[in-house]
Symmetry: C2
Subunit: 372 residues, 2 copies
């Protein structure tokens, strides 16, 4: 008898991006996924692991990360199997990262269904999350590249949207729709229309698919990339062959987000399905969203992140992130963002939070890479 779809499910966690807009909290040697951004007491990576383990089992979670983060990732995830940590010699974007995981896993276990979930997003409502993944796994088993879209709760302008098309008939899964289109971050008016219309979901970058189907889509749009990944996967589980293959192939792989190599082309051909997620989700893209996340519903308040924070605030609102052992005093500053680390300090406002990335670029150009 064929295994139930969920028994063939494998979680993949790409743990890549630094999160430049969260500098100086996030940085090259301490990327966003290695931080506790919610005050939960553990890192976003660990949160992600614990969310996925009940679905796929701890032995069936693969992490794709940079070589520099190996020790930190293993410290966070002591249960992670040795063969399930895939180390990138350099970042090659999400098509390469997820595609390599798909190719390795398909080779090990033909028919595997993979689900890829970012290591640095914040989700609450784990059982609703698992409901959505189970539905998505059924749709993936039916051959669809499947994504989970988040039901909007406000007219957000910081996220991309997925427009739902007709409902699809998928065995064992209800309320699965085709995807009509992907939409980049809209303006506020458009976001309000989306919220009112009910057909648009937030794009959370979650992809669930049979590994062979995902590779098939990639072969159609990016044949060279696909060929490189398959060749790499063939050598992967042979300790003698892996190193040379990585050195030869990895640096030449095209850098492209999986949204463009797989998801959007699949949507155009009617091969992309979307499942509605009713859980709370945030990609915590900048300090404005971090502030909002930590003062949910409490406007005008000051969010304080940092286990040993010593903050004295007088008529202050916004967010303070305390990562240095210092007294922080705020007086009469509204919607402020203060991020205090041992070697770098950021002071800005929620309104300007998106511009942090440009400061990081300026620091890099200005020879201050020591604090990046």
């Amino acid at each position: 008898m064929r295994q139930a779809p969920l028994d063939r499910f494998y979680s993949v966690i790409p743990a890549g991006g630094v999160g430049s807009r969260l500098w100086p909290l996030s940085r090259a040697d301490a990327p966003k996924f290695l931080h506790d951004l919610t005050g939960s007491g553990q890192t976003l990576l660990r949160d992600t692991w614990e969310r996925l383990a009940p679905l796929s089992g701890e032995q069936r979670i693969m992490v794709v990360t940079g070589r520099a983060h190996r020790a930190a990732v293993e410290a966070q995830l002591p249960e992670l199997a040795d063969r399930n940590i895939v180390l990138e010699s350099e970042p090659r974007d999400s098509s390469a990262a997820i595609g390599l995981a798909a190719a390795i896993l398909e080779r090990r276990e033909p028919g595997v269904i993979i689900g890829s979930f970012a290591a640095d997003h914040v989700i609450s409502g784990s059982s609703l999350f698992r409901d959505a993944v189970r539905t998505a796994v059924s749709a993936a088993d039916a051959g669809y590249i499947t994504t989970i879209g988040i039901t909007p709760t406000e007219p957000a302008v910081g996220f991309g949207y997925i427009e739902c098309g007709d409902e699809l008939d998928v065995e064992g899964a209800e309320h699965v729709s085709a995807v009509s289109s992907f939409v980049e971050k809209p303006d506020l008016g458009t976001a309000r229309e989306y919220l009112a219309g009910g057909r648009h979901l937030w794009n959370a970058g979650m992809f669930i698919a049979r590994a062979d189907r995902l590779l098939e889509e990639l072969a159609l749009t990016k044949p060279d990339l696909h060929a490189g990944l398959v060749e790499l996967a063939e050598a992967w589980d042979d300790p003698q062959r892996r190193g040379p293959a990585v050195d030869r192939i990895w640096p030449r792989l095209e850098k492209i987000a999986i949204d463009y190599s797989v998801a959007e082309p699949a949507a155009e051909r009617g091969r992309l399905a979307v499942v509605r997620g009713h859980f709370q989700w945030d990609d915590v893209g900048d300090f404005a969203s971090l502030a909002k996340l930590n003062t949910a519903g409490r406007s005008g308040e000051l969010a304080i992140l940092g286990e040993h924070a010593r903050v004295l605030a007088d008529a202050a609102s916004g967010i303070v992130v305390s990562r240095a052992d210092r007294v922080i005093s705020l007086i009469g500053v509204k919607d402020i963002v203060v991020v205090d680390t041992p070697d770098a300090l950021l002071v800005t406002t929620s309104e300007h939070a998106q511009r942090v990335k440009s400061v990081v670029d300026a620091l890099r150009l200005g020879g201050s890479s020591d604090v990046l």
Copy 2:
């Protein structure tokens, strides 16, 4: 032949107040006078010394400071004669500090004229300053308690004012006036009237007087305080007697500013003279004035204090004081005040700079005296 007045002149520098409104830059163990607030490369105390030395000579400058600051003061002023450092066992306000200096110096050198100048004010235009002091010394020699009032250059609301009365006939000195009254910090409308009227000067807390005359005034208004100071001065230059006298007398002296014990009463009896100072002066009472001082005439700019400051600013104005070896990044913050020290960080705005003192009080009450 009687000595010329300036030959009998002695400078007194009370180096007392912490400068709480400049926390966390100023603090108990690093009071305001031990900082370089102008980027001159030396402390305000040293600036004060160098301003006075050409007037009285280095051997004729007395510093009254707290015991805790002895080493720091001596490091700043290696020329300071041993017998000219007067150490307070605890702060007893300016009447005690200046009165003790007057009593000691009058005993050593009857007929001495003393001039008391705060250790932590900023003055530019040293030759204009010296002109004013010379005039004031002549008025003091004629028996007046004399102050130097600063000609206002704007309708400042952060200073007290001195209202000039009739011109006085003083030998060897022109443009010396009686003082009609002292005025506390006015509102903006009143300050504008003062500026337009030309009869009001800023009260810079400078007092020049014959020591015997100053003690005489004090004897009239505060006989107990006067008696205590005279008794203390009698014992001062005897190493055997000084300690016990300090222990017995000093803690019981009334704490009162010399403005109230001497200057205002003398003004009421027509015994206070004022000399117009045309130099630039600021008491640098808070970070708003510090910002203004360091961006003089350059509105919308960011003042940066700190020899090794690494500041990256994007659309930011106000002031950054960098006393910790860190990169400081400011994005889109206007009139901001950021003071970065190894153990404490302050973020506020010019508008709220006056409230820093209340934060210091709150920290003290909250058990964070380690950073005060």
